[in-house]
């Protein structure tokens, strides 16, 4: 919590204590999950912007796409921060009960959302300033570019974020471009070994793809300026003043439609704070009204038919999910029901991944055969990058990358909750989560190896090179899995316990983090990965076993409230 927030809460507490009816208020607030994801997104922006796009801007075949993706991610952060502030901020629970008008709340929360995005604005300005410097070798140009993005991007981001709050369809569109962004970014990596002829071709098509992003057209004039490109691209900046001019109207529109109590109800899940005004309670009751009951007799019949004792997770129909289901024991199926009420769409994700990889390969092959390309046959790096990119293209959306594949099956801290409150063993939960990972890796492996070999063939390298790198990368999630479980469990443990064993386990954990990081780098070197991966897996399994032992013998405390539950703040 920053100083402003703390000061605000303290002031609010004083205010509430003066008001007798609010003295014993008991508020429930939701943990700031969005705040966490925003931090990760920020890392992505800085990483993608500075490391990915900027230094390689001259030789990278798709600079516009890369820059577009960076801006898109930044836009996602701003929109997320604004949504968090206006709809999910814990302060809204308090504000909804105070005699404050919706306009005042909107003004405060809107300002908070925008001010909270300053790091993103700075990152974007610095990233593009850096990219300009690398492209033009000119410090004044870099400063000019940074200043321009510092001035233009914030209002643009605010305009789009506000529009996405007002019209949900825009938010969905932003969401749907996510996969395209990943695919486009990875597509760029598939061809790092080709030279300028093909780069020009890709850039020509890259414009069309870039223009489909909400930030793409902003990148086009910048790129034309830095690379002395066609002046026609400057025309892409024309909509900018129009967008900027619409901001006051957009904000005003959002303000007029903003209802703080509705926002609170969205996250209140039907809870009525004790002592809340009657109209609040009524509104909550209406909002959370349960579906009309089917009648006592029907309910009793269903209960007596033991339907409520059946597995929470329905038997799946999709093939990968079915494999996992068959492999789980009945007890593990029950445990899985505790962790998730619905199936993640693994089979569908796999097909999407295959489609993306096939498209990427098809484009690569077409370019390779129709245009004479000079391949950097003397360097190993391109083929490793290419193999890695294709593996990632298949693996990331499917396996877990970017949080898509794992959606629906919790990891780490979320499994601590049933472990704590129900008679479930640590080992049981571990196996419930490990089995889907094994199945998915087995499913993914042949496809990754095959694609890796094709990429190597396209780039005129021995096929086994592509196969090896694909194999190595495909196995990474499996080797890292015990570490992710350990990390998740550790994040949910009590920090009070300071036994010698806990200190030793903490030290080993830090070492394991460093070793895993080194291992991930090692995977990208020829043959090293095949040695590194088993070592990583063993180390991670070892520390998972240690954690289990410490919990069993009571050397560590699992004290945190259940994952996903709201924390309780008493004023």
């Amino acid at each position: 919590m920053n100083t402003i927030d703390r000061r605000f809460l303290l002031g609010l507490r004083r205010l509430l204590r003066r008001e007798p009816r609010f003295r014993r208020l008991d508020f429930k607030t939701r943990a700031g999950l969005w705040g966490e994801s925003a931090k990760r997104m920020l890392v992505l922006v800085i990483g993608a912007g500075i490391i990915g796009a900027a230094p390689a801007i001259r030789d990278f075949p798709l600079p516009r796409l890369a820059s577009t993706v960076v801006l898109w991610l930044a836009l996602g952060i701003v929109a997320g921060a604004l949504r968090q502030s206006l709809e999910r901020d814990p302060h809204l629970f308090v504000l909804a009960l105070l005699p404050v008008s919706d306009r005042e709340v909107f003004a405060r929360q809107f300002r908070k959302g925008i001010v909270g995005s300053w790091k993103t604005f700075v990152a974007v300005a610095l990233g593009f300033g850096w990219a300009t410097w690398k492209s033009t070798d000119s410090v004044p140009n870099a400063l000019l570019s940074a200043a321009a993005f510092a001035c233009v991007f914030p209002p643009l981001a605010v305009a789009i974020a506000v529009a996405s709050l007002r019209w949900r369809a825009i938010a969905l569109w932003l969401h749907s471009t996510f996969f395209v962004a990943i695919a486009a970014g990875l597509l760029g990596n598939v061809f790092p070994s080709v030279r300028h002829g093909i780069a020009a071709l890709l850039q020509r098509h890259g414009d069309a793809i870039a223009a489909t992003f909400p930030t793409g057209w902003l990148v086009l004039p910048w790129h034309a300026w830095t690379s002395d490109g066609p002046h026609l691209l400057y025309l892409a900046a024309l909509p900018l003043p129009v967008v900027l001019a619409t901001i006051p109207a957009l904000v005003s529109w959002l303000r007029e439609s903003y209802r703080v109590r509705d926002s609170v109800l969205l996250s209140a899940f039907g809870e009525v704070p004790e002592g809340a005004p009657p109209e609040f309670a009524e509104a909550v009751a209406n909002a959370s009204a349960a579906p009309r009951s089917r009648g006592e007799t029907t309910i009793v019949d269903d209960l007596l038919a033991r339907r409520f004792l059946a597995d929470q997770l329905p038997a799946p129909t999709a093939w990968i999910e079915r494999w996992v289901w068959r492999w789980w024991t009945p007890r593990q199926r029950l445990c899985a029901g505790f962790l998730s009420s619905d199936w993640p769409r693994w089979s569908r994700h796999f097909l999407v991944s295959l489609g993306l990889a096939t498209t990427a390969l098809g484009i690569g092959w077409a370019i390779r055969t129709t245009i004479r390309i000079e391949v950097w046959s003397e360097a190993w790096l391109p083929v490793w990058l290419a193999g890695g990119a294709v593996s990632a293209l298949i693996g990331l959306p499917f396996q877990s990358g970017f949080g898509r594949g794992f959606k629906g099956i919790p990891q780490g801290n979320q499994v601590l909750s049933p472990f704590l409150w129900q008679p479930l063993a640590f080992g049981e939960l571990t196996f419930v989560l490990l089995k889907p990972n094994l199945v998915r890796t087995l499913v993914m492996l042949p496809a990754c190896v095959g694609f890796g070999m094709i990429v190597a063939w396209i780039l005129e390298f021995p096929p086994w090179t592509g196969a090896t790198i694909a194999l190595q990368i495909s196995l990474v999630p499996l080797a890292v899995f015990p570490w992710t479980l350990t990390a998740g469990f550790r994040s949910g443990l009590s920090t009070y316990r300071r036994s010698l064993a806990a200190w030793i386990a903490g030290g080993i954990y830090v070492l394991a983090c460093v070793a895993n990081l080194a291992g991930l780098v090692g995977v990208f070197f020829p043959l090293v990965g095949l040695a590194v991966l088993p070592a990583m897996a063993l180390l991670n399994l070892g520390q998972l076993a240690l954690l289990r032992r410490l919990l069993r013998t009571g050397k560590l405390d699992a004290l945190r409230p259940p994952g996903g539950q709201r924390t309780v703040t008493t004023l």
Binding site: L303, Q312, Y496
Partner: protein
Amino acid sequence: MHIEVICARKSYGRTPALDRVSASIGPGQVIALVGANGAGKSTLLRALAGIVRPDAGEILYDGQPFSTEDLALRRRLLFLTDFPPLFQGGTVAEHIGMVLRLYESDGPDAPEKVVHWLRELDLLEKAENPVETLSRGQAYKTALIPLLVIDPELWLLDEPLASGMDPSGLHVFRAQARAAAARGRTIVYSTQVLEAAERFADRIGILHRGELRFFEEVAQLRKRAEDEGDGVLSAVLRQLHDEDR
């Protein structure tokens, strides 16, 4: 179940939560834990449930220490916190069903029992409602039903009398806890409602700054406080408070 708490100590950083707590709890007893906020009541309940482990000392269940991997032992006790966690995404009936299955209490008579308790606690109509739509009292009742059906040897409840349950729910809870104690079950609960604790407990444990200062029957406490009235616990707690000053 016979529970032996032997010189248990627990601290959170430099703050002691339990300080050399020793107690012997036999089967068939109803124990009320009272004390000021932060006295260590919830920590003692959590320690009894195995969720926190004493820094020193130990807790034995029929002479056996607690282990997270000992599911047979874990199935012999059930802990209801003041805000019991329910499985988000499921309905009232599904939550009950899952807990019953984990406790292996989903025998042939389980559905009838569930229907009975849903009816008794006025939740039958809500059985198919998502748990997110329940009020606090209804959520507590939803968590209470598996406890009543499973009927474990050790009932642990944190502030059940301030759980938001309506009077009929509280009545059902008290009646069933009494009946369970008569069957040899052990009930340990914490409360701030002193009058209720005096009437609804065989023994009362008074915690003060992590120490279990008294662990006696109500009659003995009355004798000690030389107070025959119902306000004996208030008197003892006031006395402890004055000692601090």
